[in-house]
Amino acid sequence: MMVAESLASNNKVLKIRNLSTHYFSRRGVLKAVDRVSMDLRKQEFIGIVGESGCGKSTLAFSIMRLIQPPGKIVEGEILFNGKDLLKLKDEEMRRVRGKEIGMVFQDPMTSLDPLEKIGDQIVETIQMHEDVDKKEALEKAMKLLESVGLPGDRVNYYPHQLSGGQRQRVMIALAIALNPTLLIADEPTTALDVIVQEKIMEILEKMKREGRSIILITHDFSLAAEKSDRILIMYAGWIVEMGDSMKLVAEPLHPYTKGLIESVPDIWLARKIKTMPGFPPDLINPPPGCKFHPRCPKAKEICKREEPPLIEVNGRLVKCWLYE
Amino acid sequence: MAEKPKANVEVKNLATRIFKPIIPEAEGRNMVIAGLIIVITILLMAVLADVIAPYNPTKFAGKPLSPPSLQNPMGTDNLGRDILSRVIFGSRIVLVVVFSAAMVSMSIGVPIGLISGYFGGKLDRAISMVMDSMYAFPSLILAIAIAAVLGPSVVNAVVAISVVYVPTYFRMVRGQTLSLKSRLFVEAARAAGAGNTRIMSKYIFPNLVTTAIVVFSLSIADAILTEAGLSFLGFIVTAPTPDWGFDLSSGRPYLPSGYWWMITFPGFMVMLLALGFALIGEGLSEVYAPGRER
């Protein structure tokens, strides 16, 4: 048991410490990711859940260092297999992208270059990182397409000839083309219908079985609960709760997590769906203290004044004054 | 002494008071204001030509081909006429031709576009095809053909330029009408029993106006260049009438001998006037469509 645990801690693929990403606008500074820390183990499937605008996509883009002005990573460390991504030179970071970390995007309809054949896009990606000739790269591209459940001859197709689900498979094939150890999927199924969604998730699970670590960014709590080992709940740039998926669903600690679970429709339990009152805060002028307190049913006096600490409760982390 | 700065402030306030409510605070606003200043200055110049021009533009005013001096700030031409005075008077014909032509092409292009876009069908397809073909034809060459048949005169120039710009207005209005007619407020009006004429005049036409202003300014800029081109080629006025394009062509034989002032000023005015309208059009399109530019 001891051995297993120490192995686990050595097996950390990703270690994020105190990461902040801000957007600078005329109205002021928007803290999209606010001092976030998290870990990801080898072959772990983690789900990052939150409402739109909570900073989950910004977190994903920060890991890839794809934040564009007016956004900027202002502080923190992103240790990936031991090296700090934020300290890499641009060219070194380029070689990490695609090769060591793959990314799948939300909208497969707009994420592929409409003017290039599927095969050419895969070949270009492979040749960016590996010194192989075109023929070899094309053969690999066909195998990749087969591995995500598409016929190999789709290399000769243009994106507009494929359906949304097929294009998302292509996106996954592109993301795993160089066998990266980490795969980040940013809302990969939001734009797709339910049946296709299940197929895409199956591919992601297969990717995990093959040894990769997966970060799934989603607003769909039930999807994350079903597929991931661990869930991370984000609210207004903070991680408010983090822990084992099963435990988190069975016994949510943070009032926001509870609200999220209650708002998920459940066809088995004939329970009433509760919608959470209020709206996500304006992140340029967030509420003082705990950013969730205006919507929190259990808000205390201290919540309005002071930021809650991250507290460990039953092996889970929760950022809430209730557990102090 | 104390009066002067105050007057300046008042002029500035007046300018902001006039422009502010019309032009919303946006990216393209400075362009619009710069354009308006150019256009209004040239308009005033045309109106007040008799008062501000130092000489009669068609009479001898100094030694022929003398360079710019205090007596003739822009020099004199080969017949000893004052170029500044010719430049001032030369603004009249181009403005008259271009504005009258714009009025004519609008009053043809706008209603046809409205009807064609609103009713659609075979008629629309036929009209569009004709208009698109005309639009694809080089406008100056079309204008030259018309002017050549009708003979050189100011009125014929108006006819030629009007014909050329009908498709521009037609295409703009038709496109807008197509997108407007399926909008909710038009559907609602139809459901409430409004007739076609009423829908076109009360619901569609008013919504065309902003786009129409942008297209108007840009096509005026273009028409100025067409007018100057026709005039340069001798299809509008004959000597001694002052017109920028025509004066430029009269200066051309003197260019190899280095009499730069004969061509510099009239041609520059053509550019300036076209630039004024182009700035207004471009600026307004940014003001009204802030999503695309930024």
């Binding site: 707009t110 270059d113 | 060459i141």
Partner: protein, 336 residues
Amino acid sequence: MASLKAYIATRALLVIPTVIILLTLVFFILRILPGDPIASMVGQKVPPEVLERLREEAGLNKPIYIQYFEYLFNIIHGNFGRSMIWGKRPVIAEIMDRFPATLELTIFGFILSVLIGVFTGSIAAFKRNSKLDASMRIYSIIAYSLFIPWFGMVLQMIFGVYLKILPIAGRITPGVEPERITTLYVLDSILTLNFQALSSSLIHLFLPSLTLGIVLSGAYTRLVRNNLIDILSQDFITAYRARGVKDRKIALHAMKNAFIPVITLMGLQFAILLAGAVLTETTFSWPGMGTFLLERIQYRDYNSVQGAIVFYALFVALISLIVDVIYALIDPRVRY
């Protein structure tokens, strides 16, 4: 690729109505518009018998619908009539003497305008909201407002009259013309390896094509900038970056995408280019179609005028067909 052929065939068929409409338009202008073309061209001083003879020669005394069908029939058979002056040569032969000069000028002007426009527009887009961007936008609007004869003369004044380094008139130094193959001097002198003719024709081409190129580049600058900004913000560009594709390669992909609307503009710009060429030719004494048209209007050569305008119409239709084909070659979404 079979679908590409089918697409081109459909497009080619669609050109036919456009051509007929354009020809009808030309017919309408030249024969139905109020005013007698012969009289207005010849002027008032000519005796009525001569006027009548000229009308007869131009076939203007027949009923209008017969004139119309004769006119269409003749054009379809490549018969543009004979010139009414001098040797009474076939109009088409006269046009073929002059058209290559215009083609050469417009091709060079076109290439320059696209190069300048794509260059300035890309700079503006990649350096968005910088001072450079602002100056490129000012450039685009000023270039658009330039009056071709004036700008041409300013260039003539600087490079021809003061610096004396470039010729201000003509197509080539008389006496060094290359052997006639295509009548495109640049091409002919390359084909016959005649470098004297090549350099002479290139230096004569420089100012006129630069004049056209700069004036027409403004529209491209603006379009390329706005499109490129739009493309650069799209998901697939971020996706390229997320796969570690090099910035330079991404820029090329972005420009390829931004180029698609530019092709559409090219079609429209070509008409403006031809109109601009009329003024450029006059300014630079360039012996092309534009000067031919103006000269024949002056000589009251009705058949040549009609022939020249009809030829312009056919050329415009051909260009629009070529543009459609290029469009299909670049954008796979069109051809499948």
